[in-house]
């Protein structure tokens, strides 16, 4: 992999005026919360009073129901792979939002169903079982609504951390797609039974807009955009190169890749159309700056899927979606940059190391791996370092197997002006936490520590 054209570009912009690109996260979070406030206002204006225990129960159930309906749409929108989210906020952070919103949705759903049914049963002086059967069987759209709720709760339980670990990724992923079915099924009872929507054309229109918007985002960014991308770029495997024990690089050839708009530090979701691999789309970072005709990823064999990549034949067709990820040059706010990589987390940092605009001495890479042999791409990194006047340090386990600690003191020894740096981290969770803590201790503020984790 050569770096010439990027290298030249880099030197020309050696000292650009630096201003970190603002993350849209606060704005998006504010909008989401504003929407929730609007939903509460809908309840508020449509409710004149809350009387008696049954009134409290039904009221709480309605508020929870409205919020559930709202968060369902937000959940779907969060997973629509909208570029503003995936590239602006960062896929990992969006996924954590999604997980948080998911837990919240399932809890609200339980409150909604429980409170409404209890309240109705009290109002009607009937038993909870009788009331439940009555509501489920006789109320319009409630069979659908109930089925949707059951699916949502089931998917929620399946996604709980304890269960998730025991379920194959593919199983989890495809069951997770049922969420769309659940949200669709549950949509109808919201309008036909939702007290706040009856006769309120504005609220109905807003709800249609909310759900239509979410559906539109999914259709556009998860279906149409990938189809367009793959039709345009026609990606195929060019070659597979061994970089280290268990680490391989896959070179992918395609057309008009400049139009892809991929930046160093970003990743795509890759689906190799060969054998069983075709059933899984996996995120891998670009391990070199994208070129107009070629992309490169570097993969460590961690499971069946990543191991199988080593055997990919040249010419295999590739289906890609992306680019995603916010670990890019735009996050940077200082002239000096420290990159901290752990193991195969080197891949996005390798691309950044190659391309981040920097003068000699501004750029430092700290690369930790178990053994010297595990330092994949080490030769390339040294080459880039010498061309760019950057520094690269490796940290491998001692002969006794002890891991090299990343401490604030060690960082200060290597970089006395560490507090003046931006830091980019990528690696396993243990390293990330350790490096994050050490950097904070060494005086780097949290907003200048950029990281992305794939443990979604």
């Amino acid at each position: 992999m050569t770096t010439t054209y990027d290298g030249r570009a880099v030197r020309r912009h050696a000292a650009p005026p630096l201003r970190a690109r603002r993350s849209p996260a606060p704005l998006i979070l504010a909008l989401v919360h504003l929407g929730a406030a609007g939903v509460l206002a809908l309840w508020w204006t449509g409710t004149s009073s809350v009387v008696g225990t049954d009134g409290w129960l039904v009221g709480a159930g309605r508020i929870a129901g409205l919020l559930t309906g709202y968060t369902c749409a937000v959940l779907v929108a969060l997973m629509a792979r909208v570029p503003a989210l995936e590239r602006g906020v960062g896929s990992d952070r969006v996924a954590r939002w999604h997980a948080m919103a998911g837990r919240w949705t399932v809890s609200l759903l339980a409150v909604h169903a429980g409170c409404v049914l209890l309240g109705y049963a009290m109002q009607d002086h009937s038993s909870l079982v009788h009331e439940t059967l009555n509501v489920v069987l006789h109320y319009p759209d409630m069979l659908k609504g109930t089925l949707g709720a059951v699916i949502l709760v089931a998917v929620g339980l399946l996604s709980a951390r304890a269960v998730r670990r025991r379920v194959a990724y593919e199983t989890w992923y495809y069951l997770h797609l049922l969420t769309y079915v659940a949200v669709f099924l549950a949509f109808f009872h919201q309008l036909s039974l939702g007290a706040q929507f009856a006769g309120n054309a504005v609220a109905q229109a807003a709800w249609y807009l909310l759900y239509g918007g979410a559906a539109g985002l999914v259709l556009w960014y998860r279906v149409l955009a990938p189809v367009r991308l793959n039709a345009r770029h026609r990606l195929r495997v060019e070659s597979v190169v061994r970089e280290a024990p268990d680490v391989h690089s896959v070179l992918i050839r395609g057309e008009r890749l400049a139009e892809l708009g991929a930046e160093p530090g970003q990743f795509l979701r890759w689906r190799f159309l060969s054998g069983a691999l075709r059933w899984t789309a996996t995120p891998y970072s670009l391990s070199a700056a994208p070129r107009h005709d070629r992309l490169r990823i570097t993969v460590k064999a961690a499971g069946g899927h990543s191991a199988a990549l080593a055997g990919l034949r040249p010419g295999t067709r590739v289906w890609a979606e992306g680019p995603y990820g916010a670990l890019t040059a735009g996050r940077r706010s200082r002239r000096k940059v420290l990159l901290v990589a752990g193991g195969v987390g080197i891949t996005p940092l390798r691309a950044l190391f190659e391309t981040l605009p920097a003068g000699p001495g501004d750029l430092t890479l700290l690369y930790r791996a178990r053994t010297p042999e595990d330092l994949a791409l080490w030769g390339e990194l040294q080459e880039i370092a010498s061309v760019r006047g950057a520094r690269v340090y490796s940290a491998v386990n001692g002969p006794d197997g002890r891991r090299a600690d990343i401490s604030a003191a060690a960082l200060r020894t290597v970089l006395p002006d560490i507090a003046e740096h931006d830091a980019y981290l990528c690696g396993p969770p243990g390293l990330m936490e350790q490096a994050h803590a050490a950097l904070r201790e060494a005086g780097v503020p949290g907003r200048r520590i950029h990281h992305e984790s794939f443990e979604l």
Binding site: G46, S48, V51, D54, G55, Y120, Q123, H125, H138, L193
Partner: protein
């Protein structure tokens, strides 16, 4: 209208009230003459056939049609004055006429007025100082029994719509057919009987979703006996009804 109107008036027998009662009775006869869909010569029938236009009709016709339109909007189309292609505001006109009659008497100085027009009731004031009116809701499936009792004073209207006695006379304006999941009867409480009558007609046409819909309306409460004999009521209905007979 083929309906008997019953007046229950609490007052000290002033001549103003007496003449107001006469005027109220006359207004009901007039309303019948103007709005009857059974009389081919009523203004409404002629209007429906296109023989007269609205401007030439009584001012009451325009007012009732305006109320119908307002009810249609407020009920999201569930109340409709269009019936099997014709023009039929009967879902509202009886309530409107009864309410008007009751208010005429009340404004003449009666302490309490209860006008019952074939089961649709407008209450004003109170029967005795400090005492509410009490209205029984007939149980549609158990003849002779009351499903519940409602109490109120000052201003309360009670209208009931249902299938009882004459078969289904309310159609779902969206399908033009009787409502699929119709209750046996739906009772609506409001301040104005014109409103209550329209809400009850609309709520009956809605079927089971009426409960939630009524719950969301300000100043309106609902109670229904379902086809299987169960009942439901809106959240605050019990604050109005005093006695549970079910």
């Amino acid at each position: 209208m083929g309906t008997v109107f019953s007046f229950d008036i609490a007052c000290d027998g002033g001549p103003r009230v007496r003449s107001a009662i006469e005027a109220a009775v006359a207004s009901l006869h007039t309303a019948d003459a103007v709005f009857s869909t059974y009389r081919p010569d009523s203004q409404l029938s002629r209007l429906a056939r296109g023989e007269v236009d609205l401007a030439r009709c009584d001012a009451d016709v325009a007012e009732v049609l305006r109320l119908c339109e307002r009810a249609r909007e407020r009920t999201d189309g569930w109340f409709s004055a269009g019936y099997a292609g014709g023009l039929d505001p009967t879902g509202l006109v009886k309530g409107w006429a009864v309410e008007r009659a009751a208010r005429m008497i009340s404004e003449a100085g009666a302490r309490g007025v209860c006008v019952n027009g074939g089961g649709d009731i407008q209450l004003l004031g109170e029967p005795e100082p400090g005492q509410p009116w009490r209205v029984g809701i007939a149980h549609p499936l158990r003849p002779g029994e009351l499903a519940t009792v409602v109490e109120g004073a000052d201003e309360l209207a009670v209208a009931t719509s249902g299938t009882a006695e004459r078969g289904c006379h309310v159609l779902d304006p969206r399908s033009g057919r009787p409502p699929v999941d119709a209750a046996a009867s739906v009772t609506v409480l409001a301040r104005s009987l014109a409103d209550a009558d329209a809400w009850a007609t609309a709520a009956f046409a809605m079927g089971t979703r009426a409960r939630h819909w009524l719950d969301a309306q300000a100043g309106v409460e609902g109670f229904a006996v379902t086809a299987d004999g169960g009942t439901w009521r809106t959240t605050r209905f019990d604050r109005v009804s005093a006695v549970r007979c079910s």
